[in-house]
Symmetry: C2
Subunit: 401 residues, 2 copies
């Protein structure tokens, strides 16, 4: 059985970006650029007034000058700005070549069509020279950068209407388990409602995965294989349940039958020991445990890393470190991942306070549903004491901001 | 002119949750619950086997017992579990009342239809008793809790198909500015492409605002008023540009004409001094500056707070604290918000390293587009030196995870 660290490493190695795609700018936000972006022209493209005021020549400082015209934003002044003259100008408008400064409105005294300029005017004051923010041809964004709203503003400025990005993977979800019924039905004895299907759909939606679909499959080999075949066009397939070693655990066999290669099966971790990763050509398939908390951890730690890798981002979420408000136990050779609530506490040495939310079992989502992270407790029987520093990783989607 | 802190306080006071809404579970993730949620029955609803193995009685420890049947998950065993007998049982299946423990498969030696049990079996071993994870009627989620994927799993378990939440506001975006052309056109002299429209749409999409729409309005009073009227059904209206005091700055007058009450206009901050907040009945309207960086700050600091408040969440993003890698200057009575890149650095006392990305002007999105936060530099002429601790707030959407 491999360690939780080795399993994550194998996921990261298996997760490769899919085919690049040209998308409209409006759909690019949050995705990784697959190409560099350079400025199409100088920015500003002309000497720009940065205040509402008067475009003047320095030699006229302290003098009364004639207002000979007005330059609103978007317009170009065709005439001449001779000595003894000035032009009323708006923020964002083009400064005529002869203008040496823009004097703000509130710094002049105006009488009819003349203004008295202040005695001291600085060269270039309130004028952003052409190219001063960005030179034509400069590489402003690089392949691999995530498109943020500010990057969208940059791309729109450059006239980029569509851009090559690494798309998000498409996803299929298959839940197995003879004890499961859909959430809308009343459970008969021995049955429980399916929690993993809705949870995995919510996670897929939060990560904006493409074409999410959820099918329930009975615990029969041929049904699971047929369901896998229906999802052959998905980049990522998440199965829940049936991944252990019992007589009814059909997922490992179904994956082999389907033609997938098992990358690993079983991880020294709690919850979620029976985790499985398989691949078929470019498709990645996860066998997640049926217990909802174990299924959740499997997504948060491994599937999320795969998705990040498939979208061209750094796959491993770097751990944070916090101070445990309560002890977190461990036992044996498995890494324990304990749901916890991390709160920012700048006064602490680590800056994060970790409230452990102990659970009764791998099915216990009731005592953990206020958690926002997993605390990692190393293998061994020592555990971590209250006050000790522990590594933790955030849940997706973030609930801290 | 009010301070940046006072302006934020006024935004928070004005932002009130809208009408509650019953939504399908699949749409609830990320929203605030408007009602408490209690367990519909005990969880587990029956004594549940937590391992694949054999349901046994303690008195049979160390003995060879007959396997008299099998209980797969989802089924209930009707017969009796007498002494000298055991039942093969799957993870998740119902333990019969007489079963006192589940002995894992790997701990027994099986010969045909008999198994040899280990000498030591603990009472209740590998059985989750009915109600041990959650008692019927227990309040598991409370009004005000954000619906996370784990909460979706809880709600699905309880058979909740739709739930009352605080919905996200609907939004309309109006860009003004005679110098602006759509990003798809080639600018003639004096013109630039509109960056704020696409950026505000990207931010609206990242915050999943409802029914986003963007209209460009000429800098004429009646056009802006008419465009505001077309957006009368939106909870939130964002205008960019035309909010200063120049002759062509029509937004404050247009808002008054439209019937909105100006809550504040102008804030002691850089960038984005001309910021404006208005309201009409339940509608909030922001006049954001036309310079893209100032517009971005206006959204990040004020509009995002309004959206959080309108969705029932804590409106103010609590500041983080980081160590400046470079100095960050300030001048005069305004709070300076400087774009920066925060990187987690557990070795630092504050745990965050802040790389300041100085900008040339409020229009400079080119030197700041790798930023993920704003560093707050207090008013005065001292600024902050490299190595000093500074408060910062994260951009939305987060790019750290």
């Amino acid at each position: 059985m491999i360690s939780a660290g080795e399993a994550l490493e194998l996921v990261i190695q298996a997760a490769r970006p899919g085919a690049l795609r040209l998308v409209p700018l409006a759909e690019a936000c949050g995705l990784c650029l697959a190409e560099d972006v350079s400025a199409d022209r100088d920015y500003p493209p002309f000497a720009r007034a940065t205040m509402d005021g008067f475009a003047v020549r320095l030699a006229d400082a302290g003098r009364s000058v004639a207002v000979v015209g007005e330059i609103p934003a978007g317009c170009v002044f065709g005439g001449d700005l001779g000595h003894g003259r000035c032009l009323e100008i708006s923020t964002g408008a083009v400064c005529p070549p002869a203008a040496e400064a823009v004097v703000p409105k509130e710094h002049v005294a105006r009488h009819a069509d003349r203004v008295l300029l202040p005695a001291k005017i600085e060269m270039g004051q309130n004028i952003a020279p052409q190219g001063s923010e960005c030179r034509q041809g400069r590489r402003v964004l690089a392949a691999g950068d995530v498109v943020t709203p500010l990057a969208v503003a940059v791309l729109a400025s450059f006239g980029v209407l569509s851009i090559r990005v690494v798309p998000r993977p498409s996803v299929g979800i298959i839940t197995t388990g003879a004890e499961l019924i859909p959430p809308g039905r009343q459970p008969s004895p021995g049955k429980i409602r399916d929690a993993n299907g809705p949870m995995l759909l919510a996670l897929a939606s939060a990560m904006q995965l493409e074409r999410p679909v959820h099918l329930a499959a009975a615990d029969r080999l041929e049904t699971i294989v047929a369901t896998l075949q229906r999802m052959a066009d998905r980049d990522l397939v998440l199965l829940s349940g049936g991944v252990s070693v019992g007589a009814h655990d059909m997922v490992p066999r179904a994956l082999t039958e389907y033609g997938a290669e098992i990358v690993f099966h079983k991880v020294k971790q709690k919850p979620g020991k029976p985790l499985l990763l398989a691949r078929k050509d470019r498709q990645l398939l996860f066998g997640l445990p049926g217990n909802p908390l174990a299924c959740h951890l499997g997504f948060q730690r491994y599937v999320a890393a795969a998705i990040r890798g498939m979208t061209g981002q750094t796959a491993a979420a770097a751990p944070f470190y916090g101070e445990l408000a309560q002890a977190a136990g461990s036992k044996g050779e498995r890494t324990h991942f304990v749901p916890a609530r991390a709160e920012y506490a700048p006064a602490l040495r680590t800056a994060w306070r970790l409230d452990v939310l102990p659970t009764v079992s791998s099915a216990d989502i009731f005592n953990s549903c206020r958690a926002n992270c997993y605390v990692e407790v190393p293998p061994g029987n020592d555990g971590l004491a209250a006050g000790q520093t522990a590594a933790f990783t955030w849940f997706i989607p973030s609930t801290t901001s």
